[in-house]
Symmetry: C2
DNA sequence: TTAACCCTTAGAGTAAACTCTAAGTCAACC
DNA sequence: GGTTGACTTAGAGTTTACTCTAAGGGTTAA
């Protein structure tokens, strides 16, 4: 009976390729990944929670550099909570602006589509 | 009195570097740019209108490949209006989905920030 | 015991979208 | 008339985020 999550299973669970997972460890986005006696990585549910958060930050458009910074702060413990909060707040502002801009673009492009429709009508 | 818009002025007006403008011409996003007797580009207000539209598509997240496709269709004239409309419609769907996803991320991240705030409180 | 298939690493390759460099032309100012 | 500075081209270099390859070791199924 399989007790730990190997890279393949982690890949399936997170929907990231094993290449990407190793890459994330190499650049410091994933930290302290445990190894078994043969040097193979094994992952925990904590790792899954963290990577899900990383994926959220990525989908929000945060670059890996920033995510790595967040990971570094997280590693340093409770004392960095305020800094992490600020990082998130900064990105909230960026994202709010982006959503507003995208909504405007959407409006304009829909107007253009209406124009094309009037050509045909 | 300056009658035409050279690359420097076009760069200022569009907020794109002259490198980027030449690059856009090279890949076919900008087409039929006029030249003077010494081979220097000069631009028209039509070019400015077009590049503003290109910038909108870019900010909507449309890749340059797709924008080039749109430019190709535009070059072919009125008969491609329907295809161009479809290209835009497809991107509207993508953008609407993205905005919805971003709004969800925003909500989740704000929850996380509240969590940090309760740590301090 | 040997094949099949997992894992490991370092490092090379890829794609998108620029960004810059080198080498050269040309018009304008002092 | 020489130098400055903007323009031209082809093509090399950069950044981000992967994605893949090569070379090799470990574990399990027939």
């Amino acid at each position: 009976m399989e007790v730990f999550i190997n890279i393949q299973r982690f890949s399936t669970l997170t929907n990231l390729s094993s290449h990407t997972i190793r890459y994330y460890e190499k650049i410091g986005v994933l930290k302290h990944i445990a190894r078994n006696s043969s040097g193979h990585r094994f992952f925990t549910t904590k790792d899954i929670e963290w990577i899900e958060f990383v994926k959220r930050l990525k989908e929000m458009g945060m670059p890996l550099d920033n995510i790595k910074l967040y990971a570094d702060l997280r590693e340093q413990g409770e004392s960095t909570a305020e800094q992490r909060k600020q990082l998130l707040q900064e990105h909230v502002v960026i994202l709010e602006e982006r959503i507003a801009l995208e909504a405007l673009h959407l409006k304009k492009i829909k107007e253009k589509i209406l124009y094309y429709e009037n050509l045909n009508g």
